[in-house]
């Protein structure tokens, strides 16, 4: 019972779980969020005036919700992850996925957005019965080419995908191009953001915020993709 009582009161008072390194209370006090940026369009990219991209918008909104402003730090994933691991950064964005090999070193949110990778076809063309032997356009250098090959189709590497041919891409991109999605799914990418390890109160705060943004994400991605 000695264990149970504080647990129950913990549900009520709401400031639990706490951060061992006090990230949340420091952000609220100093009104600054240190955000690490790893370039990865359309999630994070260099815009005409400062950082842009879907996750940059989300980070800006999150900081705003705490009455704080973001401080941006551009860099590579290795350096930024190490900074995060050592509490030199509060948040790291860059189109990270739940499968990141850094999961044991830093804190990860639960996936806040899932991109489904689909095959889309031009409107009016007949839906394929099977992908076997079909030629499917894939943006050159994308790992989707491997998934297309696994399905027995032939990936056609193109510099930029277009609405004119059968194409493999994320669901929001298929919709944006005006392609018609088929029933063929090539996998899913589960997107997360990273925080310092063990800062469970901070992690909880950002997860609750991201849950409110889910519906906005495809729109943000589409705008970022067209360079807006």
């Amino acid at each position: 019972m000695a264990v149970l009582l504080p647990a129950l009161s913990g549900f009520g008072c709401g400031d639990l779980p706490r951060d061992p390194k006090h990230t949340l209370s420091r952000v609220l006090e100093r009104k600054k969020v240190r955000v690490g940026l790893v370039e990865n369009p359309p999630w994070v990219l260099h815009g005409a005036d400062g950082p842009a991209g879907a996750e940059v918008v989300l980070a800006r909104r999150f900081a705003e919700s705490l009455g704080a402003t973001p401080e941006w730090f551009w860099g590579g994933e290795q350096r930024h992850m190490e900074a995060l691991e050592n509490f030199e950064m509060d948040l790291l964005i860059g189109g990270l996925e739940a499968s990141t090999p850094w999961s044991k070193k830093v804190g990860l949110t639960r996936p806040y957005f899932v991109e489904r990778m689909l095959v889309g076809i031009p409107p009016g063309s007949p839906a394929p019965v099977s992908l076997k032997g079909q030629q499917i356009a894939v943006k050159a250098g994308d790992d989707l080419a491997a998934s297309v090959q696994k399905k027995g189709a032939e990936p056609l590497q193109v510099p930029e995908i277009s609405p004119n041919v059968a194409t493999a891409a994320a669901d929001w991109r298929i919709a944006q191009l005006g392609l018609v999605p088929t029933r063929f799914e090539l996998g899913a990418k589960r997107h997360i953001v990273a925080v310092p390890p063990g800062e469970n109160g901070w992690l909880r705060r950002i997860q609750i915020f991201l849950a409110t943004q889910r519906g906005d994400v495809p729109g943000l991605l589409q705008r970022a993709g067209t360079g807006q």
Binding site: V106, P197, E199, R204
Partner: protein
Amino acid sequence: MNAVGTKYDLPPDREATINRAKRVEWASLVFLLSTVVLMWLVMGSSQTMKAMWIEDTLSLIPTVSFLIGVHFRGRPPTEEYPYGYRRAVLVGFMCGAVALFGFGIYIALDSIMKLIAAEHPSIPTVRVFGVHIWLGWMMLAVLLYSVIPPIVLGRLKAPLAHELHDKTLHVSAAIDKGDWLSGLAGAAGMLGIAFGFWWADSAAAAFISVEIVRDGYQNLSNATAQLMDRRPSDVETNEKDPAIDHLQDALNRLEWVAKARVRLREQGDILIGEAFVVPRQQTDLLARLDEARQLAGTIDWRLHDINIVLVRSME
């Protein structure tokens, strides 16, 4: 046709006790399985939960061993298995003990390394039916759920183990005690994380792992002793089983016996073995052997299949 041992039947009152023990162990099994599933669902990256999950999973071993043993031990001996099936369970028991011991050491080292490396456990928040719940609270709930049944079940098992002289059942009761102790330690660790003490998780796990190693060692030495046909011992105190001396004394009291020496081993819950007897005279020995054999059956309900061996002298 070769010599095949005779079938052993428990006295009727013990039969009722066995059935009661079976019910308790089935309840244990159902409860343990439910904890194992629940813990697996909420485990996440918590070191405590990993330790508890392994402990609870391996706690299934004595319970399952007992149930399998009870099932098989009633089978009569056959031509191929002339000593019967009462030791069938020992194989599984030994493997389980090795696993428990090994995992305990692994968790202990893993937790200590994490403490040294100052790893901070990240525990996310999940959304259940639209409500955001920190996974740590769910872990705490599961840990508290896992504490209560072993307190009850362990207390039910201990006297049954004593009455039935069943070592598997005894180990199962001992492990129940370890389970609820480590459940409480785990809950304390989880609360520690909630209050911002990152080390609480690994510290609790290290404590639990000590418990697992202890369980493992206990089982291992028990199984080894049984495999080596160690002298029968009391279920709880581990001291020499009085049945050995009782039988020897009774044989020595027979007027045709000059000297008797008894050697016994455990066959699960029952005792088998040999009594070496030096007779005073050599007349009418067959009838006297029958008398001695019948006497053995009346000394203790566990004595079974005792071979009386006539020898000229003890040297």
